[in-house]
């Protein structure tokens, strides 16, 4: 069992049994449930060549949906980064009563089914809802406008930022902040020049995760969005509409484009996570 043996083979030798069956099960399962179905979608998209794909994707309604979805997802991810950083900061740095309750509440959007979040947010922000009634006199309507999409996506994306920033903030060495202060920096300077650079990779990772989640989100959005074509119609809803009209090729084309965007983000998140680990691996 030499090093050379491992390099020529594809698996490092081990005394443990069961590699073959375990890998076989894993690959068969992944193929059956994920790879073949996604492959079928890509095949459906390109069954009649590139022209159909481009034609299906370049329709004004599809482009408008992508515009709304991207804008809202980016805006929501930015809000998630802002409030997520605030929550993570307060949870890690300031002891206060109810600390554990707030920490637990952060996971609520992960645990609450999206349809429940959707109808709850809709009834809160509708013009006659608890929050909507307060905003109505100011001329702000949230529900049934793109603003509602923003609210829903911020809700579902928030835990991603808090849960990626929180552990990094916990592990941050206070000595660096002390050194910065002793060298004459104000607290704000220390924050922007010492703390933020250390948090940046984690914050960006959380942002990218919230963005990825926001782009594909469906359940929490469709209730509050109003779903007006060209205005507040999101891409996943457009897929559902195309499928209901038996336009499989059109739906598959939109899905394939979304899948490509998702893979780009997945790749970016992987790189960001590696960056985070490198920065904190001393």
């Amino acid at each position: 069992m030499t090093q050379a043996g491992w390099i020529s083979g594809w698996r490092k030798p081990s005394v443990l049994p069961g590699f073959g069956p375990a890998l076989g099960t894993t690959l068969a399962y992944l193929s059956l449930f994920v790879i073949i179905p996604l492959g079928a979608m890509v095949l459906t998209t390109f069954a009649h060549g590139w022209a159909d794909f481009v034609g299906a994707v370049l329709q004004p309604r599809v482009l408008a949906a992508f515009r709304v979805t991207l804008l809202c997802a980016f805006g929501a991810a930015a809000l998630c980064a802002l409030f997520g950083l605030l929550l993570a900061w307060v949870l890690v740095r300031y002891p206060f009563p109810g600390h554990r309750l707030v920490d637990a509440a952060v996971d609520l959007p992960f645990a609450l089914p999206t349809a429940v979040a959707g109808i709850a947010l809709t009834s809160l922000y509708a013009p006659n809802g608890w929050i909507g009634a307060l905003l109505a006199p100011l001329g702000i309507q949230v529900a049934f406008t793109p603003l509602g999409i923003l609210v829903a996506l911020t809700f579902v994306g928030l835990p991603f930022v808090v849960r990626t920033v929180q552990p990094v903030l916990q592990d941050l060495e206070r000595e660096q902040e002390e050194a910065s202060a002793i060298l004459g920096a104000t607290r704000l300077q220390t924050f922007t020049r010492v703390i933020m650079p250390a948090l940046a990779p984690a914050l960006l990772t959380g942002f990218a995760m919230a963005l990825a989640r926001g782009l594909g989100e469906y359940g929490s959005v469709i209730f509050i969005a109003g779903n007006k074509p060209m205005v507040s119609e999101i891409v996943p809803l457009l897929i559902v509409i195309e499928l209901e009209q038996f336009n499989y090729a059109g739906a598959a084309a939109i899905g394939t484009l979304m899948l490509a965007v998702a893979f780009v983000l997945l790749f970016a998140i992987n790189r960001l996570q590696r960056w985070t680990r490198l920065q904190h691996a001393d």
Partner: protein, 300 residues
């Protein structure tokens, strides 16, 4: 916490009086701390807790009797039954997958291992609507296998199998993602010892691996089950919304809400919210009692 740099070293009298006024800050001033804490608390209340409260309030808005009769509706009961069946199947399948994936990924080093880890994550970054759509494209009436299924009078889409397939797709990573890091952290020494002492592979797995994994497995099952029962987008595409037949609880919520039966919609939603709270509570309990036996809390 404030550090007075003047404290540790005695300095000449003039310098000392000048320096003692310079206090080095390694935290924010009290007003800033209070303002940030208040902002965080306000945000948590308005944005996270208020939606939950509104579910409960609106569920009981028309009284307990209305609430109970909404839940006793035959279509709602059938939705609850279907949700439980689908979650049981999906969780069982994903446990088998998660254990198999964790065994080969965390116990062996082989080419393509990182690719496999990334592939397991794919369902998390794909829209749930796509998870549902791919089932329609494969098994729908005009899908790849649609004609074949029709010949044999089999239904996948708009029936239980399609709902299970879509649910398995979206919940696939939960168990594997908890078990893989946990097994990697625990290391293979115990299993290698068992094998060296003459135990068979299955004996090693059942008596060494599984007991070490039990809390992590339970943790993964909890999260997987919560998502399986609450999944909306993926199931919505494949279900066909046939009342009393292919509606799960989240779909029943949608139908009631769109029918303007607001109290009934929130009554069903309150059950799902309860599921979320129980899941969160159990998760916290596990993280607290068995912190060293969970991947999520092990490194803290």
């Amino acid at each position: 916490m404030r550090i007075d740099v003047n404290q540790p070293r005695p300095a000449p009298a003039a310098a000392a009086s000048a320096m003692s006024r310079r206090v080095v800050r390694v935290t924010e001033s009290a007003p800033v701390r209070w303002a940030l804490t208040a902002a965080a608390l306000g945000f948590t209340f308005l944005f996270l807790l208020l939606p939950l409260a509104s579910v409960v309030v609106q569920a009981f808005a028309a009284g307990l009797d209305t609430y109970l009769s909404a839940l006793a509706d035959p279509d709602t009961l059938s939705a609850i039954r279907l949700t439980v069946i689908v979650a049981l199947i999906a969780v069982a399948l994903n446990v088998v997958f998660g254990v198999a994936a964790a065994w080969c990924i965390a116990r062996f080093t082989f080419r393509g291992r990182n690719l496999l880890v990334t592939l397991i994550d794919v369902p998390f970054s794909v829209s749930p609507v796509i998870a549902g759509m791919v089932q329609v494209l494969l098994f729908g009436l005009r899908g790849w296998l649609g004609p074949l299924l029709q010949q044999h009078d089999l239904r996948v889409v708009f029936a239980l199998p399609g709902i299970v397939l879509a649910t398995v797709f979206v919940t696939l990573p939960f168990v594997a993602r908890e078990l893989i890091p946990l097994m990697e952290e625990q290391g293979a020494e115990e299993e290698e010892a068992a094998i060296s002492l003459g135990a068979s592979g299955w004996q090693t797995f059942l008596r060494v691996t599984l007991p070490n994994l039990r809390w992590g497995l339970l943790y993964g099952v909890l999260l997987c089950n919560a998502r399986a029962m609450g999944e909306f987008g993926a199931v919505s595409v494949v279900s066909g919304h046939i009342r009393g037949a292919t509606n799960t609880m989240p779909l029943q919520v949608e139908i009631l809400f769109n029918d303007y039966q607001i109290e009934a919609a929130f009554a069903v939603a309150s059950l799902l919210a309860l599921l979320a709270l129980v899941t969160l509570g159990a998760k916290l309990l596990l993280e607290w009692r068995h912190a060293s036996e969970l991947a999520a809390t092990r490194r803290r």
